[in-house]
Symmetry: C4
Amino acid sequence: MVGRMNIIKRMITDESSTAGRIFNITIQLLIVLSLLGFSLQTLPDLTVRQRLLLRASETVIVLIFTAEYLLRIAYAPDRRKFIFSFFGIVDLLAILPFYLMLGIDLRAIRTLQLLRVVRILKLARYSKAMQRLSRAFKIAKEELQLFLFTTLVLLYLAAVGIYYFENPAQPEAFSSIFDALWWSVITLTTVGYGDIYPITAGGRFFTFMMLIIGLGIVSLPAGLIASALSEARKMED
Amino acid sequence: MVGRMNIIKRMITDESSTAGRIFNITIQLLIVLSLLGFSLQTLPDLTVRQRLLLRASETVIVLIFTAEYLLRIAYAPDRRKFIFSFFGIVDLLAILPFYLMLGIDLRAIRTLQLLRVVRILKLARYSKAMQRLSRAFKIAKEELQLFLFTTLVLLYLAAVGIYYFENPAQPEAFSSIFDALWWSVITLTTVGYGDIYPITAGGRFFTFMMLIIGLGIVSLPAGLIASALSEARKMED
Amino acid sequence: MVGRMNIIKRMITDESSTAGRIFNITIQLLIVLSLLGFSLQTLPDLTVRQRLLLRASETVIVLIFTAEYLLRIAYAPDRRKFIFSFFGIVDLLAILPFYLMLGIDLRAIRTLQLLRVVRILKLARYSKAMQRLSRAFKIAKEELQLFLFTTLVLLYLAAVGIYYFENPAQPEAFSSIFDALWWSVITLTTVGYGDIYPITAGGRFFTFMMLIIGLGIVSLPAGLIASALSEARKMED
Amino acid sequence: MVGRMNIIKRMITDESSTAGRIFNITIQLLIVLSLLGFSLQTLPDLTVRQRLLLRASETVIVLIFTAEYLLRIAYAPDRRKFIFSFFGIVDLLAILPFYLMLGIDLRAIRTLQLLRVVRILKLARYSKAMQRLSRAFKIAKEELQLFLFTTLVLLYLAAVGIYYFENPAQPEAFSSIFDALWWSVITLTTVGYGDIYPITAGGRFFTFMMLIIGLGIVSLPAGLIASALSEARKMED
């Protein structure tokens, strides 16, 4: 009995042990499976049998996650600290929607269902990548704020300008500055769906000017994060 | 009386004092509120009551901005210099449209209204980011001119080429080199609305060639500004 | 007789000899011709004569590739090693579909035909570029994994979010999370076909937020590979 | 008489003299005017009077360019060398179409007209930018070749793959590998017109894979040229 408890303890607390590694891989697989099940459930033409199967697998996975959560609390050096830590809260949020849905009226279910996506954050526990990325964001914080502020100003100015040029010609498409803002986001990020675009000569020339100015600024963060990432890597060495 | 005057003076001239900080945050909030009001006003289906409310809030904000402008003049070390400085002019332009619209015929109003967007520049007063960005632009000035010149030449050549290939096949879409220029801007920036695109084999192959050459050049400024920004940051330290 | 054998041996084994250089250029031309023939064959409105011509040229090219394969085995210092090496397998796969199609029922032919594209990998033998690129990928491996993981998480979160906003408004376009995933791939890579896009205010604001976060991350690998390539070049010097 | 000749000689040969600077700016303005006239001429609904005006201004500009060409030959230190130099040939090609069109049947005119665009290259004479850019291309030559080769292979593999997935579902849109190549160019450069896109689950997943791999490679040249440009600048100092 003592031996079995030891294996479970090692499983939870010692990542480098065989038991710990198997446990971690299992949990990761269950997270991915759970997200797959969540995605499959949104398919519009499922049969009753398929729905039942998804429901059953969801129940099993939640029970395992609940056991994992309770064990993590049990073996935490400081239980209170774990419960209120980032991963403690994530682990709770990953199972909470399921239990809340057992005793709740049907209308709020849809939003609760979507909360299941929080489980993806459980994956972050196993990823050094996430830690490095968050460090890189801290390094580039000031530059990213500068980028964000400039981008917002630019997007707004582009929206006001295109509204001025296109609203008289296309009162439906560019009905207000909010529609024009949608256009400026989709254009300056170069997504360009084609659902809304200028047709007047003035509006087209203005778009050209905005793109020449905007491309250099909107695509800045890639470079900023890239160099911050290389700095973050150096700090790890 | 002296004490109150001192608070107002500190509010305007001393950014690090409590009064100054509260004043600055208030002004920034009012700028954002004013831009929001300006955007809401363009919504096509507002009720009379909503219009009156927007009008009232606009009046209040302009009065506050007017008081701010007059106080800034009053407490400026050199009044003439402040009035003709960048922010002096911006502060004036931010309130001028409102007063001009009081005694003017209705037709010019639309353009005057849009001038209210100048207020966004008032925000620049509070942003170190803007100063760093303008410094970065100065550092990369020569490269950016090179980029601009090359891009313009490339866009024009692409337009002439696609006009040659597509005009006979799509005389409506590619009716002149100006339409072809619109195509080359939207294609080489990779926006790609889909309102105009080549359909002939020649035009498609030409597009491929232009994209291979053009992508490297059109997306240059991001890299140029990124490295100029890091230089500008070093200069601040 | 001995002289002729020597020329053939040199042709295969000594790239710097005249015979070797002519042989290599011939093989490269044949690879390109073979891919061109493969592409032409998919044209829907070929005449019988054109089909026969393509078939004949395919037969000739495969026979030459077969001779090349056998000669490479014959002159390899270690035959077994060559046969199971990357290029040994590629050389075999480049001719196998042809011979398999001689004695096989018609239905599997289509997939077999497409395997002919493997021939493009034969070109890699002549390219230092490929070697440098694969070295660059090894250098940036860890960063690229980080990018891949973050991108996958981001794409999934974007898909769940947009599904939440747009599914009630466009149940056809955003029918499940899988459709929403297609949207998030096409949007965050800024391709933006325009076949599926948000129309609700919430969905549009969410798209804006995702693009601001996502652009910096999705366009990371370009910078990562660029710097890895320059490192790989230094290692060659 | 001697004095006037001296001014003309200085105008042509001494860029730093007042006469030379005025002459250069005049020629640059004429080039831009000439390109504008060329663009205006393609407008489909010009009146007869507008056409005559454009024709007249074209004649004047060509006569001035002819005088410039003859003067440049006259004052060249080595006339033969100038005539066969890059700018000597460009100067000739800039006026040749006009004279050829005087004595030619009407059908070839359209292509000849388009040759007028060569005049844009006359601008390169005044641009240090062009020289630096061509130097940067030389520095990054090897990397750009690597990029070009990899991109071509990737585009072709993407085309074959999407043809395999989409041809059975959309035989019209993906009718052959050439249509699929157009798709892969427009998708991997993230232009995304929306004229052709996958609709099958397999094709969409394949597109996702290709974009993940391809984005890093297709957007490489921007970084390569950016760093080559900074090297080229250092070489100038």
